[in-house]
């Protein structure tokens, strides 16, 4: 098991290296001189020269890359040009917010998507199946931002049940935190629920046709046990993999939703950084997202490994 994880981590290293190359060089291709941005109104040659010297902007590009990477390896992601805070500190502030949002969204997605998928597979071709499919299709078709705005209008403006925006840490005021997060989590979660429902349905349909499900029925097991134990346990493999990947996407993909609900998360951080040419922050955030995504991939692999006896016993 440990050697399996170690091997997967070893494979992740070249991936992370490639990502770092892309992040660094793509940003260098962007128009605009960071020294000019930093220097602000003054722009006298001495200041510019000082800035270029300080941030190694005069060095060959490969050297600059080397400085950046070695800094990151030491935990130094640079300083935000906008707020003068270390990038790592900024990420440390914002990431937990997004993780909380992603976890809540994922829970909502699973609570809705998986049972709906199982039900529509078991009741294939009936009104239940069609209804679930229509709802799922609507869930996939409705854009997040539209649903978010509609929810704010209905729940916050008209009914006044929940705050329209803002954020509170769950460690400070759990109830308030839940109140501020539940709507954005719902918006993100319903879209994912649709994807999860479709995948659960097709995985279950495949499994319900298998010989071993017939064997389970031949044992006289209750239909509930046949579906939820014998069938679902095998349908779980693709569902778990998909969920882990969806979660990875959530970490980076909540940009719009965070904007609408003005949640001070990762998505908002990156949008603000891009608009203000806060290079160090953009690079740091993208690197973090990439690493997070790779980690979620690893989690998917490990879960797959744990759930699949054929892989587990092969080691």
């Amino acid at each position: 098991m440990l050697s399996f994880i170690a091997r997967r981590l070893a494979i992740a290293i070249p991936t992370i290296f490639l990502v770092s190359v892309f992040v660094f060089f793509l940003q260098k291709l962007l128009p605009g001189d960071p020294a000019l941005v930093l220097a602000g109104e003054e722009r006298d040659p001495e200041t510019l020269a000082f800035i270029r010297e300080k941030y190694h902007l005069n060095e060959p590009i490969l050297t600059q890359y080397f400085y950046w990477v070695s800094g990151m390896l030491k935990g130094d992601f640079g300083i935000s040009l906008r707020t003068n805070q270390p990038v790592l500190e900024l990420i440390g502030e914002k990431l937990p917010v997004t993780i909380q949002l992603a976890v809540m969204a994922m829970i909502i997605a699973m609570i809705i998507g998986i049972p709906a998928g199982i039900l529509s597979a078991v009741r294939k071709g009936t009104a239940v199946d069609y209804t679930a499919n229509i709802i799922a299709l609507s869930g996939l078709s409705i854009p997040n931002f539209w649903l978010g705005i509609m929810l704010i209008m209905l729940v916050s403006v008209h009914l006044g049940w929940l705050p329209a925006s803002g954020y509170e840490s769950p460690f400070v005021d759990p109830l308030r935190s839940l109140e501020t997060m539940i709507m954005p989590a719902f918006v993100l979660g319903t879209a994912l629920a649709a994807t999860l429902m479709r995948h659960t349905r097709s995985a279950m349909l495949g499994v319900l046709r298998t010989d071993y499900v017939r064997t389970a029925r031949a044992k006289g097991l209750q239909e509930k046990v046949v579906v939820l134990k014998h069938a679902f346990r095998n349908a779980l493999l693709p569902i778990v993999t998909l969920s882990a990947l969806l979660f990875g996407e959530l970490l980076a993909g909540a940009v719009l939703t965070e904007q609408i609900f003005t949640i001070p998360g990762f998505g908002k951080l990156i949008v603000d950084a891009v608009f203000t040419r806060d290079y160090a922050v953009v690079q740091g955030v993208v690197m973090c997202t990439a690493v997070g995504f790779i980690l979620m991939n690893l989690v998917a692999d490990v879960l797959y490994f744990l759930l699949n006896p054929r892989m587990r016993t092969a080691l």
């Binding site: 010989d211 071993y212 064997t215 029925r217 031949a218 044992k219 006289g220 095998n234 006896p309 016993t313």
Partner: protein, 341 residues
């Protein structure tokens, strides 16, 4: 075995364990019944072999007996099935599931895919015991071990925690047999249990089933297309063609004196069967599809002895000798068809 209709009207002598009377199964809006009025009976401890080509409805009949046929698309178009004097087809689903895996059990053709890959084989056997018996987990596990021993899996105690993929096809079929027999069923239905296995393993599995049946007194319905298997284990034989039983009777009668042209064809297509080989060698043509099912005798399009009557009227099963029935207008052929040969 007695014909279904006989034992239903009777009741004076011991009724059969399973009596199938005129069972018909139809799929969706098909123009004809896939299984069209089959009748047979099986006594305790007896082995009935249902023989026929693939697609003749033998597996579908077996699944219907077990209550495992997906309905819809299939539906019971008629007939009665009584198991231990209970009417199976009108039994509520719950009562049916209570019988399944307990009093009646089934093993399937594909041992490679019939076990759940996600669970240990010991747990899969114990699960069926726990479903039907009020015993502890530990006792169920002991029973699973005992069953693995009985189906002669070497080092059974270590195998108990194996996953199916760690076993060969023959071993998996042994596990399936262990699972099916774990609750000492009165009836075991085996749907081509050896077809997917290597020839040497086939013989072992057959031998094992025979031994276990003798030990437990379970009635066995063996579905097969392999006449070698029939010769090996059958007491009674029912030959199916295109959804109907065309001939049935004691195994000796079927092998020594087949009366239906289809049975004769089957026998002749077996190599080295001796004296009767000269009559027919192959059966030309194909089994009709459900859309092209003849309205008279379903074998008529392929029958070398076909007459006008065969095309217009379906033959009834009639007695050739005590317990030996054939559904042919011209059976026994020797008396009716002297001029044709």
């Amino acid at each position: 075995m007695s014909e279904g209709t006989d034992s239903r009207s009777g009741g004076s002598k011991n009724p059969s364990l399973l009596t199938v009377d005129n069972l018909a199964i139809r799929f969706g809006n098909a123009p004809a019944n896939t299984v069209d009025g089959i009748s047979f009976a099986v006594d305790r401890g007896e082995t009935l072999c249902i023989v026929g080509e693939s697609g003749c409805g033998k597996s579908i009949s077996a699944l219907a007996l077990m209550g495992l046929l997906p309905m819809p698309p299939a539906k019971i178009a008629g007939g009665r099935v009584s198991f231990d004097q209970r009417d199976l087809l009108t039994l509520p689903a719950k009562a049916r599931a209570d019988l399944r895996g307990d009093r009646m059990a089934m093993i399937f053709q594909e041992p490679m895919t019939s076990l759940n890959p996600a669970f240990r084989i010991g747990d899969q056997i114990a699960e069926g015991v726990l479903r039907h018996r009020a015993i502890s987990q530990a006792d169920a596990r002991r029973r699973a071990l005992q069953m693995l021993d009985r189906v002669k899996i070497p080092a059974a105690a270590e195998r108990l925690d194996d996953y199916p993929h760690q076993l060969s096809g023959g071993m998996r079929q042994r596990v399936m047999i262990a699972m099916a027999l774990a609750n000492d069923p009165d009836l075991l239905i085996a749907d081509e249990p050896t077809t997917a296995l290597d020839v040497t393993i086939q013989a072992q599995i057959l031998e094992l089933m025979k031994t276990l049946q003798e030990e437990t007194g379970t009635a066995l319905i063996m579905i097969t297309h392999d006449l070698g298997v029939v010769a090996e284990i059958a007491d009674q034989v029912a030959v199916m063609y295109a959804g109907r039983i065309v001939e049935q009777g004691p195994v000796e009668a079927i092998f020594d004196d087949p009366q239906h042209p289809y049975t004769i064809g089957l026998m002749s297509s077996l190599p080295s069967l001796g004296e009767r080989q000269s009559r027919l060698t192959t059966i030309s043509g194909m089994v009709p599809t459900i859309e092209t099912m003849p309205s008279g005798c379903r074998f008529a399009p392929r029958c070398p002895f076909v007459r006008e009557t065969c095309i217009t009227r379906a033959p009834e099963l009639t007695s050739m000798s005590p317990g030996h029935l054939a559904a042919c207008h011209f059976a026994p052929l020797e008396t009716h068809m002297v001029e044709a040969v």
